[in-house]
Amino acid sequence: MPPTDTAPEAPTPEESEDAAAPAEGVSTEKKGARKEDGDGAAAALPHGDAPGIRFEKVVKRFGSNVVLRELDFAVEPGERVTLIGPSGSGKTTILRLLMTLEKLDDGVIWIGDDTLWHMDKGGRRVPANQKHLHEMRKQVGMVFQQFNLFPNMNVLRNLTEGPVRVLGASKDEAVERARGLLDMVGLADKENAHPSQLSGGQQQRVAIARALAMQPKVLLLDEVTSALDPELVVGVQDLLRDIARESDLTMLCVTHEMNFARDISNRVLMFDQGQIVEEGPPDRIFGEPAEQRTREFLQAVLAS
């Protein structure tokens, strides 16, 4: 069922199916850069028909604290968007709503042409039940700041648990795919290690592989390098750059690393108090920000 109220840059579902024509601001280099031969890292990555995301008048409150006030924004299919903004501006909340870790208070969130938090019942839009949420979540993966690997399982099991239990993959299939992903993240020799035996950077790379093992079409990254020792940041960022370059994933990323944001994203959204202050290609937002609040924020980040 097509959405009614449309934000200017938002695709209608019909348009979003036509992912071959990138919308304004979406880089075209992605398709060209993808490896043709299909082996190596790219083979392990999800490809094809990533959905767009759209927030319509989304409201999120914590008690009396209104964090998102009728927020509208959209992400194109296959687009990679970075959210920046001061602490407490609601960036994490946006990702957590998409991962269904927080409940939506009002408004509608679209993933592709389906609503995340609502379902259709006899032509009426009603709150989603567990089954609907389960189906919708299959499209979305998330990597957390604190990794959140399962400490009671070894690395391989961390990667196969979801595919076997949720996607119904056979043990052998899941193991094979997991090994491919571990190879891609450079940890092929660690499949029997437990998370506690790995460095932070290694744990985060396993967490990225675990998220990808579920073959999501949307990948959410919430400050995935900010819990890491400085010398481990680059390895994880390089990995994510490769993934961004070689996959078709729609990516939504929160980061304080502006160089990383510049490399990885097609578009940057500057948030403050749950509202978009300004948006545009990274070069413009970082090079010549139009808004005073963006300039102040960037200065503060650079100074730190």
Binding site: H134, N148, E161
Partner: protein
């Protein structure tokens, strides 16, 4: 009063038989406590508030009443409703139910200790509820609570002489019977103390070893 070694050796087999009963009651009661405690904990997580309240009230009630009236209730009152069981079985069941309210609390705390990020990772991976519990939450929670559960095993062992009020011939009652026959209480009662200490010390060492093993991970 003189310590009589011959008499001591005479009554030792009876006391050891009593000890066997004590240990059996403890082990089987403990198994009931481990399983039933988990049942309480899971029941208390049901979505119904009324139901949770009821479960909580029942477990609080059992925990805050002494073991002896509970033993009397199971052994003497239940048969009036047609449920007759032998003294040892009644003792084991009562010990198990009584201690299940403690293990439930231990499990609850162990589950509450699991970082929120673990639950969130389960949601992000879309794991079904059964898998969240069986593969992620319980293995981690049980690991954390093994030392505390071990301490309850020792506590239960020390509570088991109370089973004598329903005529379970555990070690203390065996000693008492021997003593009243011969009018010599010193030897049997001292032996009970010694045997209790031996078993307690051995189990403390085992529990501490468990503690160390699981604390380092």
């Amino acid at each position: 009063m003189q310590w009589d070694w011959n008499y001591t050796w005479d009554i030792l087999p009876d006391l050891l038989r009593g000890l066997r009963t004590t240990v059996l009651a403890t082990i089987f009661g403990y198994l009931i406590a481990l399983v039933l405690g988990m049942v309480w904990t899971l029941l208390r997580r049901s979505p119904s508030r009324v139901f949770n309240g009821a479960v909580r009230w029942v477990t609080e009630f059992i925990r805050s009443t002494p073991l002896i009236p509970q033993l009397f209730f199971v052994y003497y009152v239940l048969p009036a409703w047609g449920l007759t069981i032998g003294p040892l079985t009644a003792g084991i069941i009562t010990l198990g139910i009584h201690y299940s309210t403690y293990t439930a609390e231990v499990y609850r705390a162990g589950i509450a200790d699991i970082p929120r990020g673990q639950w969130e990772a389960c949601t992000a991976l879309n794991l079904p509820r059964s898998r969240v519990w069986l593969d992620v939450v319980l293995p981690q929670a049980i690991r954390r609570v093994i030392p505390t559960l071990g301490n309850y095993l020792i506590a239960m062992f020390k509570d088991s002489p109370q089973l004598l009020v329903i005529q379970v011939t555990e070690m203390l009652l065996a000693a008492y019977k021997a003593g009243t026959e011969s009018y010599h209480m010193l030897e049997p009662i001292t032996l009970v103390g010694v045997l209790f200490i031996i078993v307690s010390v051995i189990s403390s060492i085992l529990v501490r070893r468990l503690e160390r093993r699981y604390a380092t991970n």
